[in-house]
Symmetry: C2
Subunit: 307 residues, 2 copies
Amino acid sequence: MTQNKSQMDFYPTRMRRNSKIIPRTDSVVYGESFVSLSEDNAKFFEKNGYLIFENLFSENEIKSLFDELKKISLDESKKDSPQFILEETDKEVRSIFEIHKQSKMYGGLCRDRRVLDVARQLLGSQVYIHQSRVNLKPGFDGKEFYWHSDFETWHSEDGMPSMRALSCSISLTDNFEFNGPLMVIPGSHKQFVSCSGKTPKKHYQQSLKRQEVGTPDKEILEAMVREGGIVTAKGKAGSAIFFDCNIMHGSNGNITPYPRSNAFFVYNSVKNKLTDPFCGLPPRPDYIASHDFTPLEPVKNFLVSQR
Amino acid sequence: MTQNKSQMDFYPTRMRRNSKIIPRTDSVVYGESFVSLSEDNAKFFEKNGYLIFENLFSENEIKSLFDELKKISLDESKKDSPQFILEETDKEVRSIFEIHKQSKMYGGLCRDRRVLDVARQLLGSQVYIHQSRVNLKPGFDGKEFYWHSDFETWHSEDGMPSMRALSCSISLTDNFEFNGPLMVIPGSHKQFVSCSGKTPKKHYQQSLKRQEVGTPDKEILEAMVREGGIVTAKGKAGSAIFFDCNIMHGSNGNITPYPRSNAFFVYNSVKNKLTDPFCGLPPRPDYIASHDFTPLEPVKNFLVSQR
């Protein structure tokens, strides 16, 4: 059934058939003792699949992160590297992948105890960065991103075997209700939606702009929203949302003048290392799905640590 | 300068030059005594250019309006008339123009004292319907509508001389923050943005789907939002928003499963009858910009009146 010979596929998807629900067999919270978050936080994450921390980073810290980003964005020597995704129209930088390797400051940020400890405690193990990027979503014509589960893609295209990963998105700009904030469907992380269709070759070249294969049917989304509703991740710059690798999420477009930028880190457990992609195609490039499984060492404060 | 020979043009636009601001010379609130709204309501409208009434219509009333809509939408004999705008993909009804003529119930709705009296008192005169429609904005792929002033179009393409008109949008479905609700820029109604570009022939055939000519520059929008912020018209089905003909407004797309439907009436003062379009082209069809200036007679309750 699956095309991955080396590993059992508990979450088959993109077998061309219709969408269908497969109940999650993996845990959501793997840790047993919590220091950087409360028991209640952990329970909330278990139940809802996300967790928002307001003001996790200070105004000063956000300013430093922004200045660093500007500096990198203006570095013409880097614009040709595949990690830099440019707008088709004006060649402005839209996303930078592997930001934790492109910048010492962002390398520190993903190791900062305020985020790394939460990831390690929820996943109950050491973790490494599966993917990192910053998004510079412009105002006026920010595009929508349709509903999807990240795990569906990481499993199918990257060979991530189990649901033992989570994302942390740190807001670098204010998230209003009207500038296309992240929307999640609470509770949707407990069901895996096996999607219809077949993964095209080099799918990532297109899917990072607009995903079609790997998105669920309308009926399934309706049922999930009827059950769990929709929560939008509003909040000031400096807030952070952690969300489970399998939670259904998306974002509307943004015609307002307010841009929406964030730093985005995917933490995967070192006990959940990538195997061959379950779709049977070659894996995506390393800057999108890392094969460097070295556990992250925490730093107390990313701004201090890099000096 | 203008192409309308019969009438002075106080708000020249689409002269191919850049956007520029022309201060509003017309009043916002024309009435002097208020019965269906408070003095504070009128002051709020004067200052901000909009007014929201929660629960203006009951659940039962909304249900009747919805049932009526379904009945009309399913009437195959009407689908070919120009008033019916269909989705390109599945030929579902997306908008119905002149709804107040297509349906006795909606004809009663726009005369219902709860809305008509507000319009008459704010505009300080008898009023007629310049345009009416219902929008059936679907969930999952509702398109965004970019920032614009309605008056800019009605002046340029319909020959509306002055700013003495307002719109009332009655929600037939719940407006959440995430299903593409109307967004307005408070205070923006006090400035007219003269837009760049030139009106193409039969512009309405395209502009009702996606407006490009008649939209302001980014710099002007940024300044307006810096000044006034953005307000989203959230609220339960049955709420209504009144907004000035010149307020800058738009809406984001909608990937959520929640559709967003509304009944939309444009009230124009009988003292502000249409003249020739200021863009110099023939006027738009009557079902988009009416030349029937007969004042509306109020009814106490639209559901009772039609029986």
